[in-house]
């Protein structure tokens, strides 16, 4: 009993130093990391153009979504899709799965009708930047996974020069993006003497505009062009059919250069953890290399695949530095994902209130993606 008193005071002293130790970091993260979210909510309620002026309530959000109804349909569709996915993936009972599938289809139909409405009534440029972000994710992540995995297979095991290759492969990822983007801005310039056009010339092809080209790559290859009455469903969805612009494609190629080596190192780490006995046992059972790859290697590296996929998608919603350098204003925003579009609304447009509302929309998307990642992190083990 006597010991209890000093022990309690020691415990309190430990708690006090604990709080004091986290105070500096907590103060900075609180003021510059968390407070901004609340502050954004406040700013977004005003017609704030550099200086604060009239309180406008939800008008900024109305401008984004084109009114309350399109927003509600959007929210409902997304909720339906989320619920449908949860039901269809977890439950084995066929009735529930069918219900999940129905919800999923309902949500998708809602989006197909609602997104063109938002583009017509709300912020068409935001919808374009959303489309750019989706193309950017689709264009980068799968290819980076594929080539990252192939290089990781080549990096697996012990051989001479392994560390040198690892250092070279991480180099594009580690050096400042502004400097390397400055190089790609030249490699993919529209001038006939640019590197990309010189490569085309080797094959006898005519030079392209690359970073200056606003046309979609499918449009250039197959002739799909946006068509239909302005503001119609057809016009909106046919804009997707044109594909990512060639300028965005050039930025996607820059991304390959930066990230494939990084993906390879992450995969190589996962491959090194695969127990060799599994391969030997499978070989004894007469499994062909392709079967071994599908049945052993791919499932065992799937946590890395999942991690890189989600991180890659979130990365496209956060990306800024390389696109700021590589974008050509003459293309009219066909290279700008949401983060870059929002930045220019604030930086050049001076529309603080509107850009704040936009940035909260971006935060909602990134937060949902992160929540998906966290939930699956709980189920699988990523870090050894």
């Amino acid at each position: 009993m006597r010991l209890a008193a000093p022990r309690r005071s020691a415990r309190r002293a430990e708690a006090i130093s604990g709080y004091l130790f986290i105070l500096p970091a907590a103060l900075i993260l609180g003021v510059f990391g968390l407070l901004p979210i609340v502050f954004n909510l406040y700013i977004s309620l005003f017609d704030w153009r550099i200086r604060r002026s009239a309180f406008v309530g939800l008008a900024n959000y109305g401008e984004i979504f084109g009114g309350a109804l399109p927003f509600l349909i959007l929210a409902l569709s997304v909720a339906l899709i989320a619920a449908g996915l949860a039901l269809a993936s977890k439950n084995r009972a066929s009735l529930v799965r069918t219900l999940g599938l129905a919800l999923l289809l309902g949500g998708a139909a809602g989006l197909i009708i609602d997104l063109p409405r938002i583009a017509a009534l709300g912020d068409a440029d935001l919808m374009r930047s959303f489309r750019v972000t989706v193309w950017y994710s689709l264009g980068t992540v799968p290819i980076q996974l594929l080539f990252g995995f192939l290089i990781a297979v080549a990096l697996d095991g012990e051989f001479d020069g392994k560390q040198a290759f690892r250092v070279i492969y991480l180099l594009p990822y580690i050096v400042p993006a502004v400097a390397t983007a400055a190089v790609f801005e030249r490699l993919f310039s529209l001038r006939p003497e640019s590197w990309a056009n010189q490569v085309l010339a080797l094959f006898g092809a005519r030079p392209l505009q690359w970073l200056r080209e606003y046309k979609g790559v499918f449009e250039m290859l197959f002739g799909f062009a946006p068509s239909g009455a302005k503001g119609s469903l057809g016009e909106y969805w046919s804009a997707w059919a044109g594909g990512p612009s060639l300028s965005l494609m050039s930025i996607i190629i820059y991304n390959y250069w930066v990230y494939i080596g990084y993906y390879a190192l992450i995969y190589a780490n996962a491959l090194a953890a695969v127990p060799r006995e599994l391969y030997e046992a499978a070989a004894l059972d007469g499994a062909r290399p392709w079967t071994r790859l599908r049945r052993i290697t791919l499932p065992l590296v799937s946590p890395s695949t999942y991690f890189l996929t989600i991180l890659g998608i979130i990365g496209t919603f956060k990306s800024f530095n390389s696109i700021y350098v590589l974008r050509d204003p003459a293309t009219g925003g066909v290279t700008d994902p949401m983060s870059v579009y929002i930045f220019f609304q604030f930086f050049h447009g001076g529309r603080f209130g509107y850009a704040s509302a936009l940035s909260l929309v971006l935060l909602a998307i990134v937060a949902s993606l992160t929540a998906i990642q966290r939930r699956s992190m709980e189920r699988r083990v990523f870090f050894d």
Partner: protein, 285 residues
């Protein structure tokens, strides 16, 4: 079996080295382009071109070292370079202090709400910079920190990722070591600096390298809070050179080379640790 093995091995090796060689060539090509064009005359950047580094046309006829002097003095890259050095060093000092203190508390001290506070810390990691930009700009303007060193550094003097990163290593320090030091009357601050930190030299060094690379590369925030050359970092200087300097490719490439050199040096110095910690933890910032 035994006779076939060496032959198959060497075929595998050839395939391995050719795949890795092509990849390494692609990784290094833009650096070669940067170096070659930084040393060309303006006329050569237009007329003396080749897409293949093995061709002499890829390289300048005689290296124009004066391009570097022109960028360093004429475009004030010398000043930007020093600014970036000061900004990186100050940010690093702050980050190291706040992260080590917080990581020690989360790893070794018991206090109510510890796990909850830690998860709030981690939540800040997902927030895109674009989201914090406008409120932080208003706060920094209110504090009078626009165009000041404080405005460029203080918001980055703490990072949840580094706290998370260091906590993993601090946890591995045995409690018995800390207990015996405490019994001799050492305070927690003393335990951190004389026992935990020296044992975690490698992760602290990795953190320092990553933080310097991150500050050196930051662009979005400095674009907003720096309006005059006084504290303009080299990232903004280079971005301006690209958008405003016209067709002088050799100057842009010289500027890019200058801005990337310190990070390449740091990387080569610390390559083993950086490669290992990045490929196992999988996160940069």
């Amino acid at each position: 079996m035994t006779r076939r093995r060496p032959a198959r091995l060497s075929a595998g090796l050839v395939l391995r080295y050719s795949v890795l060689g092509v990849g390494a060539f692609a990784c290094l090509l833009p650096f070669a382009y940067m170096a070659a064009n930084a040393l060309k005359t303006y006329a050569e950047t237009v007329t003396r071109v080749s897409p293949i580094p093995f061709s002499p046309e890829f390289w300048p006829r005689s290296p124009q070292w004066s391009n570097f002097a022109e960028v360093w003095l004429g475009d004030a890259f010398g000043r930007y370079f020093l600014n970036s050095l000061v900004i990186s060093a100050s940010t690093l000092a702050g980050t190291l202090a706040t992260s080590a203190l917080a990581a020690y508390a989360f790893a070794k001290l018991r206090f109510p709400g510890r796990e909850a506070i830690f998860s709030v810390f981690l939540a800040t990691l997902m927030i895109p910079e674009t989201v914090t930009l406008i409120p932080n700009f208003l706060v920094v303007s209110y504090l009078g920190w626009v165009d000041r060193l404080a405005g460029l550094t203080v918001p980055f003097m703490a990072s949840a990722f580094y706290v998370f990163f260091l906590r993993q290593f601090f946890r591995q320090v045995p409690d018995s070591l800390l207990e015996s030091a405490r019994l001799e009357g050492a305070s927690d601050l003393r335990v951190l600096f004389s026992i935990v930190a020296p044992l975690s030299r490698a992760p602290l060094f990795t953190l320092a390298c990553l933080d310097v690379a991150a500050s050196w590369n930051s662009l979005q925030w400095p674009l907003v809070v720096v309006q005059t050359p006084r504290w303009r970092p080299i990232s903004v200087g280079l971005a301006r050179l690209i958008s405003e300097a016209g067709p002088q490719i050799q100057l842009r490439m010289a500027g890019a080379l200058i801005s990337l050199l310190p990070i390449v040096l740091v990387y080569i110095l610390a390559q083993g640790q950086i490669v290992d910690s990045l490929s196992s933890s999988g996160i940069k910032e």
